[in-house]
């Protein structure tokens, strides 16, 4: 038996990106209360607010596409007269968030809509990458900075190979995994200060691939300077995909620009 659910899309940029997934959960619990959203609680010995989040964003990464589903009190929905077209709740929820976090959209979910963890199949990332063997505090000069062409070659080599092996630490054991099937798309976009900017679509199912893993599988190996999640995707059938909650590009750009 579940009550009405709202899906919220939010952005996370700037200083606040150093909060962890658990921190963000706590921030939302408080922000929803501050904004006066009457969240449903689980029954039982230790009631918890019914809020669920999608795939954890690694601490330090920013995002234009974070999501949460929250079950709300049906009476509150009635009182509030929640309305998809009404942006007031979006504004109220943004106002109650810390600087750097912004609510982009809110929508009521249709009953039976699967959870984010189940539904989301891939994410689009913007990844700022540099050569892996150069320390961040090195001031050694140009020779250590990798160029767009070099990375583009490395990427095309990787995409044309049958397998891309990475080392994974799982429950204390080191294992080798082939991430090639999970790398849907990689494109070198531009040169940045210490390296290059990539755009990549990485699968989250059956097993999620991390941006670090993609970069480590290239030759020469790269490391992540910074990454931003641009989209999360739900595959609807063989070739179609949609976002859990689409927003106009404009408001996403505004969120990023605010910091």
């Amino acid at each position: 038996m579940s009550g009405p659910r709202l899906r919220v899309r939010f952005a996370k940029h700037g200083k606040v990106r150093f909060t962890s997934h658990r921190d963000v959960a706590r921030i939302w619990e408080r922000s929803l209360r501050r904004a006066g959203v009457s969240v449903a609680y689980s029954a039982g010995f230790s009631p918890r607010p019914k809020i669920s989040f999608g795939f954890a964003l690694p601490t330090g990464f920013s995002s234009d596409a974070e999501y949460l589903d929250v079950e709300v009190d049906p009476d509150w929905v009635l009182r509030q007269g929640f309305n998809q077209a009404d942006t007031r709740l979006v504004e109220e929820l943004s106002a109650s968030l810390p600087a750097g976090m912004q609510t982009l959209a809110v929508a009521e979910l249709s009953p039976g809509e699967p959870s984010l963890q189940h539904a989301v199949t891939s994410c689009t990332w913007s990844i700022d990458a540099a050569l892996a063997d150069v320390g961040t505090d090195a001031v050694s000069g140009l020779s250590d900075v990798i160029g767009v062409d070099e990375v583009a070659e490395a990427v095309s080599r990787a995409l044309s190979s049958d397998e891309l092996l990475v080392q994974r630490q799982r429950k204390g054991r080191l294992s080798t995994a082939d991430i090639r099937p999970a790398v849907h798309f990689v494109e070198v976009q531009e040169s940045i200060k210490d390296g290059v900017r990539l755009r990549a679509d990485l699968a989250t199912q059956p097993q999620a691939v991390r941006a670090e893993e993609l970069l480590a599988s290239l030759h020469p190996p790269l490391r992540v300077l910074h990454a931003c999640r641009l989209h999360q995707w739900i595959t609807t059938d063989a070739s179609q995909r949609r976002e859990p909650l689409a927003v106009p590009e404009l408001s996403v750009a505004a969120a990023g620009a605010a910091l």
């Binding site: 150093f18 961040t136 505090d137």
Partner: protein
């Protein structure tokens, strides 16, 4: 400095410690006409952020037009290493401003083992650790908090120290510094410190000379005629004038005491003889109940917290506490969108009736309960003036079990004056009996016994007592461990006696301890509060290198005529009152709570022309008459209220 700090953060643990951005963060205005304070807690962010003293001063200083305040915390060892290798100084978390740019770096001193972190923070700020080596353009380094009642071990490192409540003192200090700053720092550092020394509640260590004879401290004297021979503490007469914090900080990452905190009164006159807080914060000053209600409802709305703690040294003593708790609940229920709100009452000294109320309203979250009998026998509790009988404890424990609790915690001290082995073993007996009582009500009841070694503190009747040695404390813990080995359902935990030794060394040390603290710090001894970093060997090496005899500071009983390192400071208490109380302790004579009985002239009120501010002329039912019992808990007694059941009950 954010640009330099940002690239380091992906490489450290818990980077959210360093980003600020909390709810309630102030917007400080800096400028040549503004005195800027960096309020610093010398331990990690998660320990320091909730500190209410710093939060109160943070708001007061930012409200004034002539001052601004930001906050800093000790960076953890991983970030410190990166900061040092890339030349980054200590910074504020609010605007990430370099510490050296502030006019004042002010520390909260709440625990002796943080002192090496104080030196480390000063050094990370790029300021000379010894005050004598600082220049006119360096920030002034100050301190406040309970440990400043004996600031002597830090005398060489601190420019000024505030005794007592800081609400008014920071304003007075700001006014002096503002004038000095506007005058182009006329008179230099020495001039302004000398002026600060004349302010009430402000102690400037460099204006006093410690005199030793035969390796014994014989006097601490003012160096100049205009410097007062005794520095009196500051006391805010009426808490109603200071409804702070008005917008408590809401951290973005997990911290201790992560909830709304509303201080319901300050001071405590229960008179527990081991308790420094109860001695130095007298008299009792209650906040008006109406103001408490407003602060709770405004605070919950502003912060989004779902838990509020009504704080004090003994919250059940607040006049009409039940009504305030009930009102808190009701207001949460009435503002329908707030959801569930739990009320916790830390330091709860509770009689059976209050236990009943608590049980009635906290069905949802029955977390741990903590009782603090402090000692294992009635005789011992007479000595320490914690007047609760074994039966008081048993009936409190039994009512908790009967209402469904299965686990509780009991807090004890060992190494108390006159303690015998039967007193110590009384702890084990109490614990076993509590579990036995529990079996009548619940399946597999459990009791966790937490034992801490007693550290005598300045301005308490036990300030003359020679602390137990590490060997003796270990022996007593061993007695308990052996006795409880086969006791089903009893877990024994204890504080490391080696850490207790260092706490004892620093808490009653004099200026000669400064060299020891500096030695420990210079050899890498930071974060000594953390067991993974604490190292007794470092302290012993340092004491030896500095010619400091640990035994004489820690384990020696003092006589009434001995000059104590804090004799030139005053918490209002008459020394002969404390001495009489010490004699009474040894004679196992109790002393009643003066807020409801005639004054026995300890000095805390009469000396300053203030008095108790207490709404009720009688003690709470069952409490305080020598039969009261403690239902205190470190995490508090959470009273979580289910909106629905209460709303139902109201109908």
């Amino acid at each position: 400095m954010w640009q330099q700090l940002e690239p380091l953060l992906p490489r450290v643990s818990k980077p959210a410690r360093y980003i600020g951005s909390e709810g309630g963060m102030q917007t400080p205005r800096h400028g040549p006409d503004v005195v800027s304070w960096l309020l610093t807690y010398p331990d990690t962010y998660e320990i320091g952020l909730p500190n209410q003293g710093l939060q109160i001063l943070y708001e007061i200083l930012n409200e004034r037009s002539d001052s601004a305040a930001e906050r800093a915390y000790a960076p953890w060892t991983d970030l410190e290493a990166l900061m040092r290798s890339s030349g980054l100084p200590l910074f504020s978390v609010d605007t990430h401003r370099s510490a050296a740019l502030f006019d004042v770096i002010a520390f909260n001193l709440s625990a002796e083992l943080t002192y090496t972190n104080v030196l480390n923070c000063i050094d990370l700020a790029g300021v000379a650790v010894r005050s004598a080596e600082r220049s006119d353009s360096d920030p002034l380094v100050g301190a406040g908090g309970h440990c400043t009642y004996n600031p002597e071990p830090l005398a060489d490192f601190l420019d000024f120290v505030v005794l007592g409540d800081g609400e008014e003192a920071v304003g007075d200090i700001t006014a002096v510094l503002h004038e000095w700053k506007m005058s182009g720092r006329t008179g230099g550092r020495f001039g302004v410190l000398r002026e600060l020394a004349s302010l009430s509640g402000v102690y400037v260590p460099s204006m006093y000379e410690a005199v030793y004879r035969n390796n014994r401290l014989v006097a601490i004297e003012p160096r100049y005629p205009d410097v007062p021979p005794v520095v009196e503490k500051r006391t805010v007469a009426d808490l109603a004038d200071w409804p702070y914090p008005k917008s408590q900080l809401v951290p973005l990452t997990e911290v201790v005491h992560d909830r709304l905190n509303v201080e319901v009164f300050r001071g405590c006159t229960r008179g527990c003889r081991f308790c420094q807080a109860g001695m130095i914060t007298r008299p009792v000053r209650e906040r008006p109940a109406e103001q408490v209600r407003t602060m709770v409802s405004d605070g919950l709305r502003r912060t989004g917290y779902d838990e509020v703690a009504l704080t004090s040294l003994s919250t059940a003593d607040f006049s009409g506490i039940e009504q305030v708790v009930a009102d808190t609940v009701n207001s949460a229920v009435n503002s329908a969108d707030c959801g569930q709100v739990s009320v916790s009452l830390p330091s709860l000294r509770v009689d059976a009736f209050t236990v009943g109320v608590a049980a009635q309203i906290q069905r949802a979250r029955r977390t741990g309960l903590t009782f603090a009998p402090e000692a294992g026998s009635w005789r011992m509790r007479m000595v320490i003036n914690k007047l609760i009988t074994n039966d008081d404890l048993y009936s409190a424990v039994e009512s908790a079990y009967s209402q469904g609790w299965r686990r509780m915690k009991l807090y004890f001290l060992t190494g108390l004056p006159t303690e015998t082995d039967p007193d110590t073993l009384g702890i084990a007996e109490l614990a076993r009996n509590c579990v036995e009582l529990g079996r009548r009500h619940v399946r597999s009841p459990s009791v966790t016994v937490s034992v801490g070694g007693f550290v005598p503190k300045p301005f308490t009747p036990f300030q003359w007592f020679g602390q137990n040695t590490v060997v003796e404390l270990r022996r007593k813990i061993g007695l308990l461990r052996d006795d409880l080995r086969r006791a089903k359902g009893v877990q024994l935990k204890w504080h490391d006696p080696a850490a207790t030794l260092v706490e004892g060394l620093v808490s009653r040390g004099d200026r000669r301890l400064g060299a020891v603290i500096e030695h420990v710090w210079r050899n890498g001894g930071t974060f000594q509060e953390w067991s993974e970093h604490f190292d007794l060997g470092r302290w012993q090496t340092a004491a030896e290198a500095c010619g400091v005899d640990i035994d004489s500071y820690v384990h020696r009983h003092r006589n009434s005529d001995e000059v104590l390192p804090w004799d030139h400071l005053s918490a209002g208490l008459h020394k002969d009152f404390l001495w009489q109380d010490w004699r009474d302790a040894l004679n196992e004579v109790g002393l009643e709570d003066c807020r409801w009985t005639p004054c026995y002239d300890c000095g805390a009120c009469t000396g300053y022309g203030i008095e108790h501010v207490v709404a009720s002329a009688v003690p709470p039912a069952g409490g305080s008459q020598g039969t009261g019992m403690d239902l205190s808990s470190d995490g508090a007694v959470p009273v979580r209220l289910l909106q629905r059941s209460l709303a139902g009950a109201a109908k």
